[in-house]
């Protein structure tokens, strides 16, 4: 959008791929609003003057708005509103559908900070570091109350709810620092629950991956996961420690639960006949609320891991499953039931 429109509407700079489209619709809708309100008001003022009372207690002939006028007004307005809805809903669906191949960052909110976990095993507080021109998928949860991850410059916002893992995505269009704000009231320090997205150029991002020199002052780091290596290898330990392998295999054998080999990104057929792509949203929901989506051919026996698995452990498990998404399963024995197909859907590539 033109800079003067951003200035006129007092909007922050546009720093994501979908911001310009949203601002364009914003401008059209707000212009319609202003003109609509002014036009109706001026029409009323004109008739106020035109039909002012000439002598006291005068009577007026009965007259009604004709049905034709009424239908034209309603039809015109309804078409306008529905046009807003069609464009708005299309943009909204686009904003809610992370593109294939997006890099993943795990976000955990708590009073009153943001914690980011990267697949490499790195973690940071309040500063999210991402490369420019790469779609970034956020897998977000909260440890206490509801928060909302809001980056005004990206025109992006997603509530972060305890017990649920929501995904959101963005693709930054230019390097820089963009404020993160918590938009859902979360207690006494709500207004201080901020942070920033640090968008780096490809070269700078490569250097950031190697060290810490691009970390903004004030960013805090946690070494616990990083010391164990990347998230995927941490995930194998988590799975062993939490007993996941009692039911799930990593060699392609179907067991009490489906195998994890080739699971991520594949299309899973559920007991009710519908199918779903095994992405981060599906996998996290299966851990937190296992009875919600039962895979066809398996019994609903998995217990919930809500309150058992920590957010970093969930992130590690998902990354571990991703790391074995491309492994071709080699069943040791032939079973009457066909083992799940290797992943045929889109793959999340590791950064």
């Amino acid at each position: 959008m033109n800079d003067w429109i951003l200035w006129l509407l007092d909007l922050p700079p546009e720093a994501s791929t979908y911001a310009a489209g949203v601002d364009c619709l914003h401008f059209v809708v707000i212009t319609t609003t202003v003109f609509g309100a002014v036009l109706v008001f001026l029409l009323a003022v004109y008739w106020l003057v035109r039909y002012r009372q000439r002598r006291p207690l005068e009577t007026t002939a009965t007259s009604s708005i004709s049905l034709r006028h009424e239908i034209a007004l309603i039809g015109g307005l309804l078409s306008l509103f529905l046009a807003f809805w069609v464009v708005g809903a299309t943009q909204y669906n686009h904003m809610r559908s992370p593109p294939a191949g997006a890099m993943t960052v795990y976000v955990t909110a708590k009073q009153w900070m943001w914690k980011f976990g990267y697949p490499s095993g790195r973690a940071s507080m309040d500063i999210l570091t991402v490369p420019v021109h790469r779609p970034v998928k956020l897998v977000m949860t909260s440890r206490d109350v509801i928060h909302s991850f809001y980056v005004p410059a990206f025109r992006m916002k997603q509530d972060v709810v305890p017990g649920r893992y929501y995904t959101a995505w963005f693709e930054a269009t230019s390097p820089g620092q963009y404020a993160i704000e918590c938009a859902e009231y979360c207690g006494v320090s709500h207004s201080r629950m901020g942070g920033a997205v640090q968008v780096l150029s490809d070269e700078d991002y490569a250097r950031w991956l190697g060290g810490k020199e691009f970390d903004a002052p004030g960013a805090r780091f946690e070494g616990s996961v990083a010391e164990r290596g990347d998230l995927a290898s941490a995930g194998r330990d988590v799975a062993a420690r939490r007993g996941c392998f009692a039911c799930h295999t990593i060699d392609g054998q179907p067991h009490i639960g489906p195998t994890w080999v080739g699971l991520f990104g594949s299309e899973v057929t559920l007991a009710d006949g519908t199918s779903v792509v095994a992405d981060e949203a599906y996998l996290t929901r299966s851990m937190m609320d296992p009875q919600a989506q039962i895979v066809r051919g398996y019994k609903p026996v998995m217990p919930t891991y809500f309150g058992v698995l920590e957010a970093t452990e969930v992130a590690s498990l998902v990354e571990f499953m991703k790391s074995i998404a491309d492994v071709t399963p080699t069943p040791a024995i032939t079973l009457p039931r066909v083992a799940p197909e290797p992943g045929t859907g889109s793959r999340g590539s590791l950064p």
Binding site: T32, W47, S64, I65, I74, L78, V145, R155, Y166, V188
Partner: protein, 573 residues
């Protein structure tokens, strides 16, 4: 048990009424004492079952609530003069905006027009002597009073800091007085339900003979639509808040995800009530406007059925739009789309009303008096605020605006720019009927202009703050937002001063105003056939129900023509 009193229908009709209870209905102009002077003891007021006195008691109580909510608002605005601490700390700030919302929504806005003006006017507009259940009506008032006092007790205990929305899990663990606050609202909810039920029964059973559904004043339609929402939606609020209270007090964890609860379910329940609740607040305002416009334009409403049916449309379609508060709360894309398109539909009903009001002005005989000045303020603010409602219901735009000052500005344009200006229009419009006095037109108009100016300066900058990305409920803010915040604060204090001026003008008028005639605005609506102020049983002459309340093709059929027989009237006109 209260039964519907047939004699409460218009007196003088063959309803087997007890002559001893009749007011002096014999000759026009010789009514009994007005409802204000018929019994002057304190007991005669606090134990009254007269709908007009109950309406006045509601009115006075809601004005106190408005003053309290307004004082909180001014404190909030003063706090935002600087980006960090100005006068209060963060915890106090959080409790202030919560109590501002609670007091304004449940203690002022919801009863403001329905319970005060609805009580006073609904029976008169139906040609009835009272509502269907007068004693229940009095009970409703006292339930409201007890609930309000309970909220004050909660305030005295430190107040609540969850926001008026009480989102879980925060509300389950908030250190503030959540339980007494939700209990106070729970009590007030009963009053709302009972009043709604009373009005529905009154409208169905108490209409005077000859007064069909499509001859009722449109304010009655608005009350009827409002009452439907009150009866259907308020129980859901009561249940939701009761669960919040239990969660907080006993730690049952009914919305706690760790124990199988779902915090998003709470939001569904809350908005299932609270979105229709905004129609509880705006429908009565629309009813007021539907009375004010024909009266001061001296022209029939340009489409009676458009207003009546759109009222029902809002009342019912309004129940299917709550999800537009949750576009980023984690509902599915399909749900978001469905709620989005239904929200567009409900906006159409409001637009129908706006066009009908404006077209009513065409070929009228328009007199610009204070209530019509408020209509003009309402018209601009409501259309602007309503269109920004369409804007925030546009899903992709809402993602940026949700929980920012844009939303705050939007709903204040509707709630204050719409409902408050309509409430002020109602006060000025029916002031002669209620008090029997006239106010100073000049000062009242000045008050109206200042209210509009102060309001606009308060809330217009907040749209820009929202665009810029300032979230709501922020105690500290980025200093770049300061100029807009200062402008908003200045506007708020102008608005506060304007409200004070309006109050003074009206109080002075009560004591020194000229006596009002029965129909000072030359209206055709039925309540103006009664003396000003009306006697206890409302009418000493029968309103012209056969003519309809918006028939401006003939002179007013009150006073002089009253005694003329229908045949004689037909001959002369």
């Amino acid at each position: 048990m209260t039964t519907i009193d047939a004699s409460a229908l218009f007196p003088g009709r063959a309803t087997g009424d007890d002559p001893a209870q009749e007011p002096a209905a014999a000759a026009p102009g010789q009514a009994g004492p007005s409802y204000l002077t018929d019994g002057t003891t304190v007991w005669s007021w606090i134990a009254t079952t007269d709908h007009k006195r109950i309406g006045v008691m509601y009115f006075v109580t809601t004005v106190f609530a408005l003053a309290m909510g307004g004082a909180f608002a001014l404190l909030l605005r003063a706090e935002h003069l600087t980006p960090t601490r100005t006068i209060v700390d963060a915890y106090t700030y959080n409790r202030l905006f919560t109590m501002h919302g609670i007091v304004m929504v449940w203690l002022f806005m919801i009863p403001s027009i329905p319970a005060a003006f609805g009580n006073f006017l609904l029976p008169m507009m139906l040609g009835a002597k009272d509502v269907a259940f007068p004693r229940l009506n009095l009970l409703s008032y006292y339930i409201y009073l007890v609930g309000s006092i309970w909220v004050l007790v909660a305030l005295w205990m430190g107040g609540c800091d969850t926001g008026w929305t009480f989102y879980t899990p925060y509300s389950a663990h908030s250190p503030s007085a959540v339980v007494p606050t939700v209990f106070g609202i729970f009590i007030v909810g009963w009053s709302t339900i009972l009043t709604g039920m009373n009005f529905i029964v009154t409208t169905h059973t108490m209409r005077a003979r000859g007064l069909g559904w499509f001859r009722m004043p449109l304010f009655v339609w608005a009350m009827y639509g409002t009452s439907i929402i009150q009866v259907l939606a308020t129980p859901v609020l009561a249940i939701s808040l009761a669960i919040v209270g239990v969660d907080h007090a006993l730690d049952w964890g009914l919305f706690d995800p760790a124990r199988g609860g779902d915090p998003v379910l709470y939001q569904h329940l809350f908005w299932f009530y609270s979105h229709p609740a905004v129609y509880i607040m705006i429908l009565p305002a629309m009813g007021v406007i539907s009375e004010v416009v024909p009266t001061f334009c001296h022209h029939n409403i340009s489409s009676y059925k458009a207003i009546a049916y759109s009222t029902l449309g809002i009342a019912f379609v309004g129940f299917g739009t709550w999800g537009h508060h949750m576009f980023v709360a984690g509902i599915s894309a399909f749900d978001a789309g469905a709620f989005g398109v239904l929200s567009m539909l409900v906006a159409i009903f409001s637009a129908i009303k706006v066009f009908t009001w404006v077209f009513t002005m065409r070929a009228g005989s328009i007199v610009l008096r204070t209530p019509l000045v408020y209509f003009f303020a309402f018209l601009f603010l409501f259309v602007f605020g309503g269109m920004t409602g369409v804007a925030v219901a546009t899903q992709s735009l809402d993602v940026h605006w949700h929980d920012t000052y844009f939303v705050v500005a939007h709903f204040h344009f509707i709630m204050v720019g719409g409902t408050l200006t309509a409430w002020l229009a109602a006060i000025h419009y029916w002031f002669p009927k209620v008090t029997g006095k006239m106010y100073s037109e000049r000062w009242a108009t000045l008050g109206a202009v200042l209210v509009f100016g102060g309001f606009f300066l308060t809330f217009f900058p907040q749209f820009l703050l929202g665009n810029a990305g300032m979230p709501r409920r922020y105690y500290d803010y980025d200093p770049v937002y300061q100029p807009l915040h200062v402008a908003s604060t200045i506007g708020a204090f102008i608005l506060g001063a304007a409200m004070l001026l309006v109050c003074i003008v009206l109080v002075v008028a009560i004591f020194t105003g000229e006596r009002a005639s029965a129909n000072p605005w030359d209206s055709r609506s039925y309540e103006w056939y009664a003396p000003s102020p009306p006697p206890k049983h409302n009418f000493d002459r029968e309103p012209a129900f056969g003519r309809g309340p918006y028939d401006y093709a003939e002179p007013f059929a009150g006073a002089a023509e009253f005694e003329a027989s229908p045949e004689a009237k037909a001959g002369t006109s």
